[in-house]
Symmetry: C2
Subunit: 317 residues, 2 copies
């Protein structure tokens, strides 16, 4: 391993709940993977702790240096400066540039982006989109985000805030309020939170009682008609979000990641595919594949490492 | 003019109704503009007639050669080969490559794309999007199409069929049937045809009587409440289509072109802007401008010339 140390990449994944670091090969193989809670990261100096976590991942992989470091950040970020523009889960990093301190600590090029873009690049290079250069990635978990990969690179738009796939408007009139201030957005309807809220209402769950999208999935799998109907509607909404992305971007494959999309793929994927076949622009619907993500919990670290690879290739930044 | 002939571009715009040719300077100035009906183009050999029209435009501008030729084609097209994949208005060109014969006729590099992409590039370079590198262009006329310009280049997607902006699904359930085979698409609701159909119903126009979107606009301007309501709904639908494009692509400016968007801008633009301000992802809604197209009837020829410029710059193809 020591001989190829100069061609390895360190991925740092600072998530809302967990923070991870791992050493990744140019082929996407994870050589080491260490994790702490983000609460623990924030005990003392979060940046020093992140650097320490990265060093532990390198020690675990038996390497003393890496070719580049990539960071997946939990919010909209200035990719060039590794600066979070909004950081609800790690507020001490808001508007703080992490590029220079990370560069100095690891003595190599650094790169970063929001976690959804990092995951999109990871899935495009080494996951469900491998071998494809045009990939749209949806992350469906508590909220809904995403990333667009075009010609193998992250499509960032004018301000680095493209791919807000969860804020497509699905219901023009009415629809539940969305965290963004609007209403009827895909996130308000088909995220874990949105599904739970709609299922609560459909099933008449008392407001004091805890009830999650997982609970709604369990009921649907047990044959509860109202719960099944909630998932059918979810597949319709998500399917329309996928149609719109396909009609605008013409990708080769759409990857559905995140806990809800992968955990409830049995309840969602057939319906989403049906909606795409029926409602997408015909000459786009046929060749586009809709698949679930493949990298699992390592997606953050692999995606972050892909940012590092892209930086070294000069394809990004 | 003869001295700068080598830096001039010929734009060919083969539209559904009219076919035009013009010589355009690198600054986007139209030196000549000749037009015939597409019915006339199709009398005899349409390609020979198009070449003849191009030569007339060059003669009118007093030039014997151009640096490159660009063609805007009336349907989805293979941009590399200038081959229409579907050509309802000029069926004899379907699946026929125009690249080699045009290259031979004009003895220079040639480039082409569908008319919406050409118009998008024209507006981005010399129209309402000039000075911006990230532009989304909607064309709202009989149907609704569009083009995406990213980093100053046409964003084509995997198969060259991106930017089907008119086939965003606006109404998940119900909604009028769309020409694409789906229902509830933006085009079915907010195109000239869609507006006329909705206004007919709202106003109780007898089915035998001719009635167009222009008629609906006239009634709305005269204060007819039902007609005004049709245009308010149109602005809502179009505004949501703009929101979705902004949320996915993060452009600097959205340009609304085509006969309906420019002809009824008074009835549409304020409502579209209101919807964008209210329903778009907040950090995207604020800085994005929504404006009407500026190039008018010359957009086809200027857009086609921009394809030629891009080909010579090596930025396209």
């Amino acid at each position: 391993v020591a001989a190829e140390a100069g061609t390895l990449f360190l991925g740092l994944d600072a998530g809302g709940t967990k923070t991870a670091a791992g050493v990744v090969t140019p082929a996407g193989e994870v050589l080491s993977h260490v994790r702490i809670s983000t609460a623990e990261l924030r005990l003392g100096d979060a940046l020093a702790n992140l650097i320490e976590l990265g060093r532990r991942a390198m020690a675990d992989a038996g390497v003393e240096r890496v070719a580049a470091v990539g960071a997946a950040l939990p919010g909209p970020a200035d990719a060039a400066e590794l600066r979070l523009l909004a950081a609800p889960t790690i507020p001490e990093w808001e508007h703080v540039s992490l590029a220079a301190p990370l560069r100095e600590a690891f003595r190599c090029p650094v790169a970063g982006d929001n976690d959804a873009n990092a995951a999109a690049l990871g899935e495009a290079r080494f996951g469900a989109g491998r071998g494809r250069s045009q990939v749209v990635y949806f992350t469906v978990s508590t909220g809904i985000g995403g990333g667009i990969v075009a010609d193998g690179r992250i499509f960032r738009g004018a301000r680095g805030t493209s791919a807000e796939l969860g804020h497509q408007v699905i219901l023009p009139e009415g629809g539940p309020p969305c965290g963004c201030g609007g209403h009827g957005c895909l996130e308000a309807l088909a995220s874990g939170r949105g599904i739970a809220a709609r299922a609560r209402q459909a099933l008449g769950v008392p407001s004091g009682e805890p009830f999650s999208a997982e609970d709604a999935a369990r009921l649907a799998r047990a044959g509860n008609t109202a719960a099944l109907r909630v998932w059918e509607d979810t597949a319709l909404y998500l399917g329309i979000g996928v149609c719109n992305a396909v009609n605008l971007l013409d990708p080769e494959v759409v990857v559905l990641g995140g806990g809800v999309a992968t955990g409830a793929a049995d309840l969602l994927l057939p319906g989403v595919r049906r909606v795409v076949a029926e409602r997408c622009m015909p000459r786009l619907a046929r060749p586009v594949e809709v698949v679930t993500a493949e990298l699992g919990p390592a997606v953050g670290v692999v995606g972050a490492a892909c940012l590092a690879m892209a930086a070294v290739e000069g394809a990004e930044l």
